[in-house]
Symmetry: C2
Subunit: 662 residues, 2 copies
């Protein structure tokens, strides 16, 4: 399938723009990454000005105005840059190839925004060292939780490399993403064989393309590979034979794919194999692999998403929310330096609202990556619009109280709190081989925003949305205002008509789309709402599972008491009567009714405004979005009516405003 | 996969049995069916006595005792027989080959039961003209709602014919089944091509094998075949072109497969094409096909399972239960004589408890087949034991009041009420390529019982179960008593721990296994329980959807009032408070609790008794059953706890007996 250029789809800038005064670029193309930077600038110039950007040998640089010049600046960090105007020229200063590439994209960004060239002086360093995408792509071409078509990495157990691969790398680099795990964390079948010579040639080519854009290739690893590749009987991390196997294997792998960044591992989770099989800890498992990849500078990224997925719904004691913490907290400090623990933003699984994972702040001596999901598994599956950057901002701003200052999640995963460098943020990717990459055109704002946010977490969600809108659809004011209104209200709206007050999980099992209040209530996944005729919620206070106490104070006390617990998480932490008064002054049940009616009204307003953009957006994109908005309008009603009806029937309490409930 | 002989697995009879005195059979093998009868008897004799039954030419018959003799008896109807002892010989008298074959199986039956030979005098005619199996087998080898492995008719879009095919025909003939539709009523993909020369050769061979056992081969037909086979733009039943297409096609089909019995059609139902597409009636559609097959004596069996499967759950007016009636009642009398309407036993879809379909008694001038389902789609999927003959007996005994006398469902589908000959009973088959045919060994009792019941509906469920037990597992008294206890209690137990009081549908959507009280509540299938904090049930009285009024009086009035409505169907017809007192003296809610606790206790008792049979049943069969019983025990608890918890949470009313509810 063809593909579009997303936010790198350039349009002509004003005839009188000072950017048109730039006509030359001085560089030596011999360096691979610089070469890509030059080509990016030439493409951008050609498409935004209609004129060519002439490439001249670096040695012929003059002081004549109108040129782009690359300059060495050891004051810039490894991925930082300093882009500025100097005597009518543009200087891209950096200390590394990657810095120059990022500087080039910064320039393109400024030009797309039509910001002034004169006086431009932008100095940036990425705040998080690791800014990664996790693709859950299977080698048969399907994507687990993919809502944008099939994989563009895999098909029929083969690796695909084509023009789209390069454009993918360009898009990532343009927003500062520097790592990509291309295969699903659930490593099965052919994917287990990615670390064998069956795939080395293609992986090496892929890693080289990525390297040209400052991206490290990572793979998801099958913990049981020594067994499943048929060579050993065991994957015991303390077995000398197993350790040797991994060392030899990694020597082979890194010998064949020198640019490889390392591996992501989901172990002992949802049926995946892991060290528990052998009575060993996650530290044993991770360290064994870390030791094997260490000589090559490889990283082992170990997921903390470990819980009992065969819980009995009748069991009120076991609490899935606790499991990540309980499984890992004792291991803090036991991991080798090249192990990173990857922790989901919340303790459950990417619900529309969760508290921050208590491992953030709990762990004090382990490298950490914050995992978020821009694949909208539980947030509308790229049929509903749901701009997630505001949620990520809240997570990053959360004070963990793990230290006296600099204790937010952002501080931790930026390395500031514990003075670390192997940390950052990863997003489960929302891409596929759809023409527009992300199914819903507006979902691309999450891909864009994620990269930009990891690079610079102090950017606001509005700023990032605005940038994305302008770069994707141009500077039309109405387009900007309407799409910004939609994006900035979308998470709020989705939360309003979804499961209320932080309780989560009221979705259809397995495929996770559409309402089903009891869908997970009597199932084995540890995801319950415990609603009865009088009330709803899970008691995670010290009277209940004690989960609230996993946080540092004062968070623990805040969550532990219904009086101080924030409304939006009340039912996550407490089982409350329907007639309980929230801080908002409304009862729980009236809050349910009001948010569900108002959420639909908000969607209606979004859709109404969107429809006014007809003719102002590319027809194809407008058509795709319109279809999705029409569905969202209808489907938001389905959410509203099912949730309201469920609680009305269960509680017998009527809506104060007498609106229609079935 | 290998296969067993089910109830045709013979064991030695007593050493002193008088049956051992029979040593010869007089027959001319030239007739195909007689040949099969002879071979059946020889096999049975060899395996039950260890001695051969010597075949002698019919012309050499003497009056010496110890022989089996075939005799012409025009007093027997087309499928009837008279089997009796005469001077130490056995006479099988009949007027047709099929009668002789059935007589031979009767003899084998008597011998398996070790009933006395002296004085034997059995004269039987089948009561229902058509006794059919409907297989929902797909041509890729899967079976829709199949719980016993894959299809033994199809694999990879090819037709399978092997030793199992013959054994299948033998099993059917042995219980009097005389028709089989081998492919799924949802006709798609390759199955549409069954009426093309791609499959004629194999179908002809299959139909010949069937014919040798008195079975007519039927096929399910794709109503849109003229379009989907790519030859016409329309399937409009009033289009001359379409009618001609079908006539030519049927000439071709019956020319190639002369033994074909006709076709089963699911039209305008659950997404299948039909005459509605062209603004025509079901009579238009059925009659067009009937006209085309009429020259060849073919039958068109037209399913009445037509309803709106895209209902809005918010719609309290539309009633799926009404739909079959509403769609067909006006057409009564409009169908050609070789059309038969096939009507499910209840108005919904094979739930564990439903009222009898109101078309029975409603239709007075249409041929009718009663469709039941021995595939245990909603009754435990052959993992729970559920002997369904008691349910079918109730359905057959239901007085419709369509006539002053002889007005039961049995009378109607036997042809007695309206003096018809194209009528009978069909069962959705529970077979697959599992070694034991039916997954659960005890599920074979449903296959056996169905055939025997259609042949002779006045047999009791206990009699049929006992026959099946003895024929399958021998005469051991404990085996007989225990298995009879299990079979006779199994439907009752399943109903007890299932959805209460006739409401149905509290299952997991799509795969229909295991409890999910709200699984269908907010869905599009017209299957709702409407439970709220105060009560539960669907008002189908004259205050509600008016469905009760579709029955003839006095049934209509009986169902219309909660006072006279039988307890077991109360929630099917009425929305009742949980505190309503049933005729049993219990409240609705206490009934729910009691039946669910007691249902599990009954299962425990069944399993306990079963476990005592170890060593008395073949190891393999015992092992298979034990595994299923262990699962049923656990799964019955899941049903109990989910249903009880749901209603306790919703109603807030505690169990009077204080048992554990979660």
């Amino acid at each position: 399938m063809g593909f579009e250029q997303a936010w790198l789809s350039y349009r002509m800038i004003r005839e009188d723009s000072e950017w048109r005064g730039i006509g030359r670029i001085y560089a030596d193309e011999d360096d691979f990454i610089i070469g890509n930077a030059v080509r990016e600038l030439q493409k951008a110039w050609s498409e935004m000005t209609g004129a060519a950007l002439m490439l001249c040998p670096d040695s012929q640089k003059t002081h004549q105005a109108g040129s782009i010049i690359f300059r060495q600046d050891e004051g810039c960090g490894p991925e930082g840059y300093h882009v500025f105007e100097e005597d009518g020229n543009v200087v891209i200063a950096a200390s590394t190839d990657c810095g120059w590439l990022y500087g080039a994209f910064e320039l393109i960004h400024q030009m797309q925004m039509e910001n002034p060239l004169s006086g431009m002086d932008i100095r940036k360093e990425p705040v998080m060292p690791l800014r990664m995408l996790n693709h859950w792509d299977n080698m048969d071409g399907s994507i687990e939780r993919g809502y944008s078509g099939n994989s563009f990495f895999f098909e029929n157990d083969e690796i695909l490399i084509d023009e789209r691969t390069v454009t993918y790398a360009r898009l990532l680099a343009s927003v500062g993403i520097n790592g990509a795990v291309i295969n699903n964390v659930n490593v099965k079948d052919a994917a287990t064989w990615l670390i064998t010579d069956r795939y080395f040639d293609k992986l090496r080519r892929l890693s080289e393309i990525f390297a040209g854009y400052g991206i490290k290739l990572f793979l998801s690893l099958n913990y049981a590979a020594p067994v499943e590749l048929g060579q050993l009987d065991s994957a015991d991390p303390l077995s000398e034979e197993v350790r040797e196997w991994w060392k030899r294997r990694m020597q082979l792998v890194f010998g064949q794919i020198p640019n490889l960044g390392g591996f992501l591992i989901k172990a002992d989770s949802e049926g995946r194999p892991g060290p528990f099989t052998y009575g060993r800890t996650h530290a044993d498992g991770a360290n064994m692999l870390a030791e094997a990849v260490e000589p090559y500078g490889g990283l082992i990224i170990w997921r903390c998403f470990v819980y009992n997925c065969k819980q009995d719904w009748r069991d009120y004691v076991t609490d899935r929310a606790r499991s990540g913490y309980d499984n890992f907290i004792e291991l803090d400090g036991a991991f080798r330096d090249n192990v990173i623990l990857q922790i989901k933003n919340g303790p459950m699984d990417f619900q529309v609202r969760e508290p921050v994972h208590p491992l953030f702040g709990g762990l004090k001596a382990s490298n950490q990556i914050l995992e978020v999901q821009i694949a909208q598994e539980y947030t509308g599956q790229q049929r509903h619009v749901c701009y997630l950057i505001p949620m990520f901002k809240e997570v990053l701003a959360f004070r963990t109280y793990a230290a006296k200052t600099d204790d937010t999640v952002m501080d931790i995963v930026s390395g500031k709190t514990f003075n670390q460098t192997k940390c950052g943020m990863a997003a489960v990717a929302n891409t596929g081989n759809d023409e527009n990459w992300t199914g819903h055109d507006l979902a691309a704002a999450n891909l864009y925003g994620f990269g930009r946010l990891a690079f610079n977490p102090s950017a606001t969600a509005e700023e990032l949305a605005t940038e994305w809108i302008v770069r994707t659809f141009g500077k039309d004011q109405e387009v900007r205002e309407v799409l910004l209104f939609i994006l900035m209200n979308s998470w709020k709206a989705y939360e309003m008509y979804n499961a209320p007050l932080g309780i989560g999980w009221m979705v259809n099992p397995a495929y996770h789309y559409g309402p089903s209040v009891d869908g997970y209530e009597y199932d084995r996944w540890g995801t319950y709402h415990r609603a009865d005729h009088a009330g709803i919620g899970v008691d995670r206070s010290h009277h209940g599972t004690g989960y609230a106490g996993l946080y540092e104070e004062p968070n623990a006390s805040m969550y532990d008491s219904p009086e101080s617990c924030p409304d939006e998480l009340l039912l996550f932490f407490h089982h409350m009567p329907y007639v309980h008064k929230l801080h908002s002054g409304k009862t729980v049940i009236q809050h349910v009714y009001d948010t569900h009616f108002e959420g639909v009204e908000l969607v209606d307003e979004m859709v109404k405004r969107f429809e006014g953009l007809e003719g102002k957006l590319p027809d194809k994109a407008f058509g795709r979005m319109l279809e999705r908005f029409q569905h969202q309008k209808e489907h938001a009603r389905e959410w509203r009516d099912q949730i309201n009806t469920y609680f009305y029937r269960k509680s017998g309490i009527a809506d104060e405003k007498g609106r229609k409930i079935f």
